[in-house]
């Protein structure tokens, strides 16, 4: 493929081209997905390096999903759910925040920067917060560079 065919490839000052970051975003059906939708219909501009997966609740995000994402080369994983006290299922997000805390410790032990995993509360009305989160997170991931897993290091 010629370089023209990959317009999204970012050229750094060093001249070394790095692949675009791959970010996976889990959005809960009731708040965050609606928030992401609002960001979309409001035409809020965001870096296009994330893929969204809709789940019924942030607590549906099995920790294994996150680890599988990293295994398959995701550079960052964002889990977005309803604000505390707003969960459609009353307490799903409380479980999520405990899991993500523990997962951050775990991925750090596996050698990943814990900032590659982020939890954010985004309500259905917070299109702007969704945009802000995506921009911030994309910047964090760009700073971190490609996932050590994607580099294929032993």
């Amino acid at each position: 493929m010629s370089s023209e065919a990959q317009p999204q490839t970012t050229a750094h000052a060093t001249g070394v081209k790095e692949p675009d970051p791959k970010i996976l975003v889990f959005c809960c059906n009731w708040c965050s997905y609606a928030g992401a939708d609002l960001a979309g219909v409001s035409r809020l501009q965001m870096p296009p390096y994330f893929r969204t997966i809709r789940v019924m609740c942030s607590a549906r995000v099995d920790p294994e999903f996150v680890l599988r994402a990293f295994q398959r080369g995701a550079d960052g994983v964002l889990v977005a759910g309803c604000h505390p006290a707003d969960c459609h299922y009353i307490g799903g997000n409380y479980r999520t925040r405990r899991r993500i805390a523990l997962l951050k410790m775990l991925i750090q032990q596996f050698g990943f920067d814990p900032d590659r995993l982020r939890l954010e509360w985004v309500s259905a009305g917070e299109g702007e917060k969704f945009q802000k989160t995506i921009i911030e997170f994309t910047n964090t991931i760009k700073e971190l560079g490609p996932s050590p897993m994607a580099r294929g290091d032993e």
Binding site: P63, L67, Q109, G111, F112
Partner: protein
């Protein structure tokens, strides 16, 4: 009586406990003796690799391979035995999931050699002499197996027919396997389908006799096993001890919980789950207490709560690290920007 079947028992990166477990079947060993001839068993009998290599393919009826794959010799023997055996059984947690040796995947060859041959206080090795793979001596060329960075499971290097988890597999499970093979040989009964895990398909909690008193019970504090004397009847997890039972396959008879020790997960995950560690992480997070003040809690406070789990990787992957999605640790490059 017809010609005896041939069995092989070999150890890779293991501790020898599995070999001893095979002898623990007591009088059943006579059944084994009645129908089988042991062709190789480094810990028990003689039997040279060359003789095995010279045997026709599939001429060994069953091979029990215990221990993980740590070096080139482990892999070579696994491949030879696979070729020569009709049935290949991954025997014990190390062969099935990497087991305790698999925890070495948090480090690598270089670091292991530095610790073992240089940095331990009792080591005097100023020139940092380490095992060489080849050495030309006067008497001839010497070779040692190649030591790898990562520990692998048996099914990563060869095709495995059956899995017998456990550290070590219990007498009951071994007897079950021996019976199945003996019946197959003597009466022609069919063997279980390929890939069968010779154990229960439920979780340990199903087998554990401890009482789960309150439904929906949540815990405030996590204890290490030495910190408290648990109530002998109640569920250990309810009492704040991290018992991996909910994420672990049954079949061992819940021996550890019966002896007041929380399960560490040696039987591996059930068939419905691939990652035992993530499964337990999820379960444990779900039973951490939630109060009325939850909505006011910051993520930092939640982190402090979860930091009671001192070593998530070592706790949740005590036996299954090489089988987990991430398999081994990675190294981040320095942060830009």
């Amino acid at each position: 009586m017809a010609e005896k079947i041939k069995i092989a028992q070999y150890w890779g990166a293991g501790c020898g406990g599995c070999d001893v477990a095979l002898l623990d079947i007591d009088a059943k060993i006579l059944d084994v003796h009645a129908i089988a001839k042991v062709v190789v068993w480094p810990i028990g009998f003689d039997g040279k690799l060359k003789e095995i290599e010279a045997m026709p393919d599939k001429s060994i009826t069953v091979s029990f391979y215990n221990g993980a794959i740590r070096n080139s010799e482990n892999e070579h023997v696994a491949k030879v035995l696979r070729e020569k055996s009709a049935v290949m059984i991954a025997f014990g947690s190390c062969a099935c999931f990497g087991g305790t040796p698999g925890l070495a995947n948090v480090t690598n060859k270089k670091e292991i050699f530095e610790t073992v041959y240089k940095n331990t206080p009792s080591t005097d090795n100023p020139n940092f002499v380490t095992p060489q793979e080849h050495y030309k001596a006067k008497e001839g060329d010497l070779e040692l197996p190649k030591f790898w960075d990562s520990v692998k499971t048996l099914d990563e290097v060869v095709d495995v027919d059956y899995f017998m988890p456990g550290c070590p597999p219990t007498v009951n499970l071994i007897a079950m396997a021996v019976d199945a093979v003996a019946k197959h040989v003597t009466t022609g009964a069919p063997l279980p389908p390929k890939g069968t895990v010779i154990a229960s398909d439920k979780t340990l909690c199903d087998e554990c006799k401890r009482e789960r008193v309150e439904k929906g019970k949540r815990i405030d504090k996590i204890y290490q096993a030495y910190e408290i004397k648990p109530d002998p009847k109640k569920c250990l997890l309810d009492q704040g001890l991290i018992c991996i039972g909910p994420a672990t396959r049954a079949g061992c008879g819940a021996m550890c919980p019966n002896a007041q020790m929380p399960c560490r997960g040696c039987m591996g995950p059930t068939s419905g789950v691939t990652d035992q560690g993530a499964s337990m992480l999820s379960a444990l997070s779900s039973i951490m207490n939630i109060t009325d003040k939850e909505a006011q809690m910051s993520e930092e406070q939640i982190m402090t709560m979860m930091m009671q789990v001192k070593d998530p990787l070592g706790t949740f992957y005590a036996f299954t690290l090489p089988k987990s999605p991430l398999r081994r640790i990675v190294t981040e490059k320095k942060r830009k920007g």
